[in-house]
């Protein structure tokens, strides 16, 4: 079964660090604040659970001791459990404002439904606070997103994101010397580049152009006929911008310039290989000049 190879393990490994940076980086101050708050709540919850479980453990211990050897309770220092008046209990009492179980009879409502009775405890103050806060938050959110001077529509936010990205990319490219594009691309001949080109070809191009470039959905790449020109510059251009009306995909968003140069060089190396089952020739005859690796311009 080819569908579940272990290839995904290999593919999943590259560049994990850059992946992680994503979500937090894009957050505004308010969102970071909110995020911190959520983390604090989660941490608080965790502490509460730890506290609770240790208390339960002690209770259980005390309960066991009480049934087997009551005298021991004092010795191991568990007698305080019977009088729980720690800061924690005080806090819980404040937060929940509930009537203790022993005094519960005072707030049982005087009706029952098939044996189900109801207490009349107060609403837990923290819950009420949460509810009020979320209600107060609503008009504030709506004001800042729709009525304030700083309010930006989704479309405006998108335009801002794109402008920012464009600047970042420009700044990055400025630091890159000898950026490869269609004005200066040259044919590569070294083995490393061609074998890398082969890898890219097999993963991206072979689907339409055949594993050996013999053609399929797309044209044959091994003959000397080219629909959009057969110089390294032409092939690079076709790969980069595609020919959308004929179904050739633009790869500029998927491949780096260097990758496109390598795969273009690999493709030109296929010319004349005569693989089996070739697709018929399409386009015009193009003879690659021998000196091309040195001066790409003259082929035009």
């Amino acid at each position: 079964m080819k569908v579940f190879s272990i290839n995904f393990l290999l593919q999943a490994t590259p560049a994990p660090e850059t992946v992680v940076g994503g979500p937090l980086g894009g957050m505004s101050v308010l969102e970071q604040l909110l995020f911190t708050l959520i983390i604090l709540v989660v941490l608080g919850g965790g502490l509460a659970i730890i506290n609770l479980s240790s208390t339960m453990l002690k209770l259980q211990q005390a309960r066991l001791l009480a049934s087997t050897n009551p005298d021991l309770i004092k010795e191991v220092g568990l007698e305080n459990l019977t009088k729980p008046t720690s800061w924690w209990d005080e806090l819980m009492k404040k937060l929940t404002d509930r009537v203790p179980i022993e005094k519960e009879a005072s707030i049982v409502l005087d009706h029952d439904y098939d044996g189900v009775r109801e207490l009349d405890n107060n609403l837990p103050p923290w819950w009420k606070g949460l509810f009020y806060a979320s209600i107060v938050f609503a008009p504030i959110y709506l004001y800042f997103n729709h009525f304030a001077d700083s309010a930006a529509s989704t479309q405006e936010l998108y335009a801002m994101e794109m402008a920012e990205a464009e600047e970042d990319v420009k700044a990055f490219l400025a630091t890159q010397k000898n950026a490869i594009d269609e004005s200066n691309v040259i044919l590569l001949a070294d083995a490393d580049a061609l074998s890398n080109g082969n890898i890219i070809f097999q993963s991206k191009c072979a689907v339409c152009h055949g594993k050996e470039g013999e053609g399929g959905i797309g044209p044959n790449l091994t003959d000397e006929y080219w629909i959009h020109g057969g110089s390294i510059i032409d092939v690079f251009k076709t790969i980069k911008h595609g020919v959308p009306e004929k179904g050739m995909i633009a790869w500029k968003n998927d491949l780096r310039a260097r990758d496109m140069q390598e795969v273009a060089s690999f493709i030109l190396g296929l010319v004349g290989t005569n693989p089996p089952n070739p697709k018929e020739a399409q386009g015009e005859l193009y003879i690659i000049s021998v000196e091309e690796p040195e001066g790409a311009e003259e082929s035009k």
């Binding site: 579940f4 560049a15 992946v19 979500p23 989704t154």
Partner: protein, 715 residues
């Protein structure tokens, strides 16, 4: 609280019997459909790891996924609701169900609808609207059975022996009325044939109505009725009084009022106008406290009964259910914050979130109720408490094993979608790389689902053994004093006591409350034209494209492919310019989707040659190595049926699609002409098939090549 008590009157007790037969039938159906629905879910989970599990056209993921959701929501939970309601309603009102005949019709009618769903969905008869996929004849069936349930419930309430309605009943009443409104509102459609219809609304409006429905199906089918069940079965099983009557009141009314508004949070960053999205966000946040009111009242009711929780599997199940409910209802609002949603939407995070709610809350609560009810119906003890304990642990672990990998998958994939190289291009430009990366998580999810299902099988064994050792009491004798005269309003009475004595006013009040939010959002969207700015170049689909679109719907492509590019750099770089609301005005129904197992296809038109689509449908791995998409080879062999086409054109004209007068007579000829052009292009690329023009594949290629191109041509 100076309410006079309902202590026995001098007139003595009235004797009657509870109807346990209906409860038993619904209980059996709950367990049975739970098993079926979850097995289908496991199949879907396996299909995502091993595409070869897409055995036949009828069993492809696109058809199986809606079958799974419908089965677990409407068959498993649906029967669970009726089981719990029929059991608790009679006991809370001290009376027998209103009519045994209606109870019987209700039971068999509902099972018939489930069977109809189980047949039609694999056949590809679907509206494509999530959780409302069933076609119009079944929609009508659902409405009829639901109204029968309503009559039976209100009839029982009216002949009650208990003056006041307990909180569980408020939830039942709100559930009934809201589901009625939602079902009718979202099923407004015009039939084209027996198994095909087009919805009244198109594009953005259809999406808003759909998610007003979809969100509140979660609210009023998976949440409010189950809160009602919790309010009855939890205090009964724990033998403790409910923590706070006041909390019940506040959280009930707040919950039903606020829930309705939150639907648009399913459409954040889509073409839905910003104002509607913001309403979705703020109302979702306001929903945290009312939702947690139910959790608090549940958990705090257990004060002083935690010893019992350790012993009793029923209570254990309840505790995990309520905890899962609390987690899911906090997570939901957090996912409604736009910046969080930008990460989570379309990923498996959503699927993980949903399953905390369904496996945790609905599943565990149902199991608890089943373990509670069976021994009582059969006047015996549960066959094996330790087996139930094992089930408890398996179910809990299953939920964790199911959800955690999906959270991980969602975060991983979302981060990969959004990752750019400094050169300004996507690091993972090929969508498949982001799928391959999470396949191990999908495998673990299938494992989690499998052990959860194993727990259900254990439970069914345990219940069967319980049934065998017990003796069924079809009519359980009971006695209660007759209904006391209404005490009327009196000074010092708590204000809410008044409405608890008046089921009709309670029904009307909750109807008004739930209508407010829906109307406030849907009406402006339908009436104010500015909400959907027109785009001059957007034209109706050609007849062949329309046929292709209906095949896309039949195959359930929308279950894995969205048609909604959000305004993010990471999406416009990958898919093309973001989707505009004006592009969807002829989309009946909208096909925005909610999950991207495959890439968005809104701008796939013109991206690949026709022959690429042909090869891709024939064998997806040939054009996209490593793809987990099933093959759709039958599209290459089945002939397109144009019989309904003229009727489709006429219905769309009625709904306002501007085909010229009398176009229905020309539609088939136009479809054939367009098919010939596509067939020629395929033949030019070496595809050989003498009858190519007549095949379904031609129609779907026509549709895919049209997608998103209307506004490309204007540029």
């Amino acid at each position: 609280m100076t309410e006079t008590s309902t202590a026995p009157e001098t007139t003595g007790l009235e004797h009657f019997a509870y109807d346990n037969k209906s409860v038993k039938l619904f209980a059996y159906a709950t367990a049975f459909w739970g098993l079926i629905g979850m097995t289908v879910g496991l199949l879907a989970a396996l299909q995502m790891v091993f595409p070869s599990f897409n055995l036949t056209a009828e069993l492809t993921f696109g058809r199986i996924r809606p079958l799974h959701t419908n089965a677990v929501i409407f068959a498993f939970v649906g029967n669970g609701i009726f089981m719990g309601v029929y059991y608790s309603l009679q006991r809370l009102l001290k009376t027998r169900m209103f009519s045994d005949l209606l109870s019987t019709i209700h039971f068999y009618g509902w099972q018939l609808i489930i069977v109809a769903a189980a047949i039609t969905l694999p056949l590809g008869l679907t509206t494509s609207k999530e959780y409302a996929e069933l076609e119009w004849p079944i929609d009508i069936g659902i409405a009829v059975v639901w109204i029968i349930f309503g009559i039976n419930m209100f009839g029982t309430i009216l002949k009650r022996r208990e003056r006041h309605l307990y909180v569980a009943l408020w939830f039942y009443i709100a559930t009934w009325v809201t589901v009625t409104v939602l079902h009718v509102g979202n099923s407004l459609e015009i039939p084209v044939g027996l198994w095909k219809s087009y919805p009244l609304f198109a594009g953005v409006q259809d999406a808003l109505v759909q998610w007003w429905y979809g969100h509140n199906a979660v609210a009023f089918f998976l949440t409010t009725p189950y809160l009602g069940l919790m309010y009855y079965f939890l205090p009964k099983a724990a033998n403790r009084p409910v923590f706070s009557y006041r909390l019940s009141i506040i959280h009930f009314w707040a919950l039903i009022f606020i829930y309705i508004w939150a639907g648009p949070h399913h459409l954040l960053y889509t073409s839905l106008p910003d104002w509607a999205q913001s309403l979705g966000t703020v109302f979702s946040l306001m929903l945290i406290a009312p939702s947690w009111g139910g959790m608090l009242n549940g958990l705090l009711t257990l004060r002083g009964a935690w010893d019992k929780v350790r012993e009793d599997p029923v209570l254990k199940m309840f505790v995990v259910a309520i905890t899962a409910y609390g987690m899911a209802t906090l997570e939901g609002p957090l996912l409604s914050i736009k910046s969080v949603n930008a990460i989570s939407h379309y990923t498996d995070w959503t699927v993980g979130h949903v399953h905390i709610g369904t496996l945790g809350w609905n599943g565990m609560l149902t199991f608890g109720v089943l373990y509670y009810i069976f021994p009582r119906l059969f006047s015996t003890k549960l066959y094996s408490k330790s087996l139930a304990n094992v089930h408890f642990w398996i179910a809990t672990l299953g939920t964790v094993f199911y959800a955690v990998p999906l959270y991980w998958a969602g975060w991983t994939q979302s981060a990969m979608w959004k990752q750019f190289l400094p050169e300004g291009m996507l690091q993972y430009g090929n969508f498949l790389e982001t799928v391959s990366a999470i396949l191990p998580m999908y495998a673990m999810r299938a494992f989690g689902g499998a052990i959860y299902l194993a727990g259900v099988i254990l439970m069914i064994y345990n219940l069967i053994k319980t049934v065998q050792q017990g003796k069924f009491v079809a009519n359980e004798p009971a006695a209660a004093p007759p209904l006391s005269a209404s005490p009327g309003g009196h000074k010092g009475e708590y204000w809410h006591r008044w409405i608890e004595r008046r089921p009709v006013q309670l029904l009307v009040g909750s109807t008004i409350l739930v209508l407010i939010g829906g109307l406030a959002e849907v009406f402006p969207m339908v009436i104010v034209e500015d909400n959907v700015p027109k785009i001059a170049s957007v034209m109706p689909y050609t007849p062949l494209e329309l046929q292709g679109r209906d095949i896309y719907i039949r195959e359930g492509c929308n279950n894995c492919h969205s048609q909604m590019i959000r305004p993010f750099r990471s999406e416009t770089e990958r898919y093309g310019q973001y989707s505009k609301s004006g592009e969807f005005i002829y989309d009946r129904p909208h096909l925005w989707g909610s999950k991207r197992t495959g890439p968005d296809v809104h701008r796939v038109g013109g991206k690949y040659p026709d022959s690429w689509h042909y090869r891709h449908m024939e064998d997806p791995q040939s054009t996209s190595p490593g793809s987990i998409m099933p093959d759709y080879s039958w599209l290459l062999t089945r002939k397109l049926n144009n019989d309904l086409l003229p009727a489709k054109i006429r219905v769309l004209q009625t709904l306002g699609t501007p085909y010229e007068e009398g176009y229905d007579e020309q539609a088939i000829a136009d479809a054939e002409a367009q098919a010939a052009i596509i067939a020629t292009s395929l033949r030019n690329d070496g595809i050989e098939d003498a009858e190519l023009e007549q095949k379904e594949i031609i129609a779907i290629i026509a549709y895919l090549q049209r997608l998103g191109t209307d506004i490309k041509t204007t540029k």
